[in-house]
Structure formats: C-alpha cells, structure tokens
Symmetry: C2
Subunit: 415 residues, 2 copies
C-alpha cells in the first residue's frame, strides 16, 4: 500500500441518533492522532452540503474534553442533510464541484456517517474520484436507528433506540394499568420498512412489562385481524398494549394513515408517515368503546442519549475509529460493519463491507423471528438484541441536567 | 396524646407519577416498624375503591427487597382510582360502607396518597369517621406531577417529571436543528390548570438547549400573538421550539383543541385535553409553510422512573415515612408538605398542612415568574426548580433493563 498524506473530512448524514456523535468522536480523536498521514481534520457542516459549500470546521481547534463529551451528546453535532446526489452519468455537476473542493483543500480521506442513502452517496463520490484519478480514501461509518443496513450484524444507533423503546414501554405498561377500568394503549415506533425498532418492544415483554401485540412492516397488516386480536385480549384482560411500526402496511401497500388520512413525500421519495398511533387509537375507540391512548415515541426514541446503551456508545466510537485506521492502512470503499461469533457469548467483531454491496440494500427482520400470526416477536430476536442494549451510558451531568458537548466550530477560511 | 393500636391501610389515588411508589415504600417500611401501634399493614387495591370492595393486600407478606425496589418503580403499584365521593350530607352510602370496612378490619390508620381530589376524599372520610365517633388517624401524602397542591413548597412527583421534561427538551432541541432547513417544533406538556411542568422546559433553556417560547395556562393564550412571536423567531433563526401546556386557553376560556376539535370530560368533570401539539403544529404549518413537528410527551413525562430526580425519590419516601410517624404520634387530618428555608441553600423541611386547607385549592405559577409578554419563564422559577431535580435516581438494572418491584399482592381474606 502507498502512503497517502493530506487532510481528512468527516460528515454526518441522514436522521441523527443518540450515538452518531460517538462515531464522530471516534473519527476525530483517531484522525487527530494520525500525524504523518492526516494533517488537518475537518468536519463538514450538514454533511455533503457543507462540502459542496466549503462550509468546514477545523476540528484540531476543538477542546479534547468537548470531543470526549460527543460520546454522550445526541443528534448530529456538525449538522446533517438529506441531500441526494444525482447519478454521475446523468448529471455530474455536484461531483465536479466535490472534486474541486477536495483538490482545493487537499482532502485525501473522506469519512461519511449515515444510513443506506449516505452509503450510496459515499460510494458514488468515491467511484467518481477514482474515475478522475484523484486519490482519496473513502470509508463509510454506519448509522441508523432503523438497523436496516445490509451486511452488518447491527448498526450503531439501533441499540440505544431499542433500549429507550424497551425501557419506555415497560414504564408505560405500568402506567397504563393503574386504573381498574379498561384501557388500550397504542405505541407507535419509528421504522419505515424494517421492524427492528418496533420488535424491540418484545424486550419489555421479556421482562414481563411489554406489549400484547407487536406489528412490524415485515408482515402484511390487516386491520380486521388486528381488531379481533385486540378484542380477544381486551375481553380477557381489560388492558391491551399494542406496539406498531409507523411503516406497517396492508397487502395492497396502504399505510395505516392512508387508510384514513393523507401522507406527504420527502426529497428521496420516501413517504412521510406519522399519525399511525392516533389513527389506530381512534379506530379502536370507535370499535371497542373503551379508553384508548395513542403514544408516538417521536424524536425521543432517536435522541434519548440519557438512556443510551453503553455497548452502542462504545461500538459507535469503535466504528469511527476503525474507519480512520483502515483508511490510513490503505483501505477504501468500505463501510465498517459488525459481526458476532457464530456461537458463544456476544462479542463485537469488525467486518468491512464493500460500499457497493451495502448501498441501497435493506435488511429486514427475518420472517421466522416473527410468530406465524404476524402479531408478536420471537426468542431469536431477544437473543439477538439483548446483548446490544447492555450497559448504561454515563452522560455527564451538571446541575441535574446533561452537559452536552459544545464545539467551537471554527470555520475553515482558507485551505 | 392517647395511644392508638390497630391496623393501617394505604391507598394510591389519581394519576400516577414516577415516584408515587417511593411514598408507598416510605409508608410501608415505616408502618411495618411501628409494632405496638400498627399491627397489620394493608395496601388498598385501586385506592378508595379497593377499601369499598374489601380488596386489600397484606404488605407484611412482601419481601423487603421488593418494597425497597418500589422507590424506583413508576406508576401505582397498588393500582389507583379516580373515584369521587359524594358529599356526606347528600349521600353517605359510601361513607357508611367505609366505616363498616374500617370497623371490620380494625383500621385505625389511614394514609392516602394523591393530589387535590384525593386530599378532598381523605378529608371527607376523616370528618365522617369523627362524626361517627370512630377513632382513626388520617394523613394525606401528597402526589402530583402537576405541582399544584396548596400549602406545600412543591409536590412529590413534580421534580422527576420536570427533570424528564427538561432533559428531553434538551435532547429534542439538538435533534430538531440537525438540518439546515427551517423547522418548528411544538412540545406539548401536561398540566390542566397550572403551568409548573411546562415551565420546567425553561431549565433546558437555562442550559442553552431550550424552547424559544413557553406558554402556560396562567396567562391568556392568543393564537395571533403566538403566531407573530413564532414568525419573528423563525425569520431570524429558521428554528423555533415552542413549549405549550395542554391547558392553555384563550381569555374566552377555549382550549387549543377546542379552537379546532372536540374534547371529552372525565368523572370529575375535568375536560380531557390533548392534541394541542398536533393542532398547533398543523396551524403553524399552514401559516408559516415550513416543516413543523408536534411532540406530545404523553404518559412518558409521568412514568419515566429511569430519569427520576434522586431528590424527589428521597423526598417522596420521606413524605410517606413522615405521615406514618406523625399519625403514630397522634396527629390526624394533615397532609405532609414541604417548605424550604427563606434564604440560603435548598433544604427540604417538613410542614404539616390541615387537609381542610389543601383540599380543592390549586397553586399556580406566580404571574411574576412569567415574563410580561406571557411567552417565557423567568429566573425565579429556575431558582425554585433547579434544586428539586438534583441527583439521578439509581434504578436497579437487570440485563440492560429496569428491574421493577414485583409485589406478591397477597389478598387479605379475613380481618
């Protein structure tokens, strides 16, 4: 391998997580150590958009203690984007601009943190730079609460969301049964196409404080079947807790809000869902006639750093750190992934996945991890998820509230 | 004082909190120690309803380790109720029945844990028993996330909800500004008539990660004024975070959902609110045209034991413990309240408030703790609330998830 010296840039993309900044901490602290390979370490404001606009921060000027605090600071400290690059064959304007910026700032290391779409972005840029003969090592750092990235056992961000969702479900379970009157609670969980997050509510059930019914997007949803499931449990227990993914749809492809209301579409053509809990709660109230409460876990499920999994924080940091080490070692065009031993206790092992393979492929909850009726999640999921949520992240506390990282964000004026 | 020997009963009433069971732990552990005064310690299933139905648990048969775990278990471990007693002068059926049950089980100590309505219940029962010449010491243990009980500096349950609300607001603040596009976030907080909980979002602002605008029920709400507030901030920052109490109303007495939708009424004649965040979010989206997200903190704000204030847990326990000690010492017809020193550092001092005084009186956020425009909260509130949210409750963790108390709930068959 040839030695490559130059500057490094790191960007965050897509929806944030409770631990995406832990990966940033991993990239930054490792990159700052790699003198001889990496000169300047830049952070791109709002991902690829910041690179296009030459909107960079000089990470070398940050206080190391604040970079350390990134480990327990939720959301994207540098800002994120949902900018979609065109295919270079169709329109290479953005790619030419990126190349120009990379040249101007002598960027030789590009680390990009995101989900499916971001790995696709990352891959397209790398292939373009290669075609143009510009040497730059490109590594993807995975991130998504949705846990739907191909090729990796699990994704940084998932476990913390899962821990939040399971813990909150346990608490809501207790709250929802204080009165001696009938009550149905509908908990809506994020997950457009994959049910990993909603499945996590089974961890609460595993502890005896979980939902009676769990509906994932992996199984066709039928509102009549659900109604009879709910009715059966309600008649027996007078309390029903339902966990439902925002992404469940009928076999005709209709989302729950579409059965009643409207949906809009984002820049990637993804349908913007929401309102599932409310729609279902209203429906069940009408049909069964008891008190029904719809709860949307909303942004909290992806930003609750105070309840992050220590395992997740450490692995997210490791993913960032590994990306830098691999790039310095000469690797490019990989996403850092994880695998676990085939048998024996859980261990997080690093696995590199070619960006080509991961881009735009979605990993779903295996059908045989869901019961036949399609309304509950089985033991293999518990065995899979439980090791990931172990350990409590120690958020720095000041005056009874979290002390989050405060970056100086010194703008890079000239390369 | 005359010595009184007999059995004790404890009941939980009204909406639960993250720490209502910490008061239960205080009552139970202290009552179990008071041999010579208290023989049997009973827990009433679903508050007063359980007493009317002779549905009691024998607390002496519980494992002390599980009683200890009550300190960090949210919701009402015994079950709660919203049962409203008639005035004894109008209809004394329930009172006669209660007297009959008290006699049958030789109940001489009655501890009742709840908010305004529960203190009223407690008071009515005590006065009836006195009139009938049945000696029984009755003590109220305060509880309400709403913090609106008269005569006490603050209420057990409030601080933990405040800590959850402030922490979550900080996390949502960071999440809501990841993209470089405009966004308005509306956070709906509980509180029917008093704004204590919504005011707690200012603690997040105090840490630099809080709302731009805070609307409490203490100030008449005007949607046009709010719109111009929001527009002004949006034009400057492109990000606006609004904290709004579910209980805000116009000077004509209309709640936000009433400006658009329907509301229902509970057994106490309280309007059942909700949907405020959604209604406001839709309105702002229409008016301003940017992305708007409505977030309802829902049940989570009152059941998040994992984020309870250690101060609150300890004080809640103390309230329960004190109620028992005072009753054994001969006192009756008081609610245990708190006060703090006039000056100097915060300290929680016990204060006994006659039930007569506390029942059905509501304490609101002082008008001069709110800015003149009525859209933000001032420093006196921060000075008031900050000491209460100090310390992190150490929830027992098993396998990465909370280990909540599991009571045997051995039913009392014969007195």
């Amino acid at each position: 391998m040839s030695k490559l010296t130059g500057n490094a840039i790191f960007g965050q993309s897509g929806g944030p997580t409770a631990v995406i900044n832990a990966s940033a901490a991993g990239v930054f602290t490792e990159a700052l150590k790699q003198t001889g390979h990496i000169d300047k370490v830049y952070g791109a404001a709002n991902g690829i958009v910041g690179i296009l606009n030459e909107n960079f921060y000089d990470i070398g000027q940050e206080d190391p203690a604040e970079l350390e605090l990134l480990k327990t600071t939720p959301s994207s400290a540098l800002g994120s984007c949902r900018y979609k690059l065109a295919k270079a064959e169709k329109d290479d304007t953005d790619y030419r601009r990126l190349l120009e910026v990379f040249r101007k700032y002598n960027i030789r290391y590009f680390f990009y943190n995101g989900g499916n779409d971001s790995m696709d972005t990352c891959n397209k840029i790398s292939k373009f730079l290669q075609k143009e003969g510009y040497e730059c090592r490109v590594m993807g750092v995975p991130k998504t609460i949705d846990n739907d990235l191909y090729g990796t056992d699990h994704c940084p961000g998932f476990a913390s969301a899962a821990k939040y969702i399971a813990t909150t479900t346990m608490e809501v379970y207790l709250d929802a049964r204080v009165y001696d009157t009938g009550m149905i609670t509908v908990i809506e969980v994020m997950g457009r196409h994959a049910g990993w997050l909603t499945a996590s509510t089974v961890l609460a059930a595993h502890k005896g404080h979980g939902p009676d019914l769990i509906y994932l997007p992996e199984v066709d949803f039928d509102i009549q079947t659900m109604l009879s499931d709910v009715r059966r449990i309600y008649e027996k227990n007078k309390k029903v807790i339902i966990a439902v993914s925002e992404g469940v749809q009928t076999k005709e492809g209709l989302f729950i809000p579409e059965l009643v209301g409207e949906v809009s579409v984002d820049a990637f053509g993804h349908k913007q869902l929401g309102g599932t809990a409310t729609v279902l709660a209203n429906y069940l109230k009408e049909q069964i006639g008891c008190k029904v409460r719809g709860i949307e876990l909303s942004l909290m499920q992806r930003c609750a750093a105070h309840l992050a999994s220590k395992t997740d924080v450490e692995e997210s940091f490791l993913a960032g750190q590994t990306a830098v080490r691999c790039a310095v070692d000469g690797m490019t065009d990989f996403m850092v992934g994880f695998q676990r031993p085939e048998s024996g206790p859980y261990q997080c092992e690093i696995k590199l996945i070619p960006l080509d393979e991961v881009a735009n492929t979605e990993k779903k909850v295996p059908r045989d991890w869901i019961n036949e009726a399609g309304n509950f999640v089985l033991k293999p999921f518990i065995d899979y998820a439980l090791p990931l949520i172990q350990g409590e992240s120690l958020v720095a506390i000041e005056d009874g509230l979290p002390r989050f990282a405060e970056l100086k964000k010194v703008k890079v004026i000239n390369p």
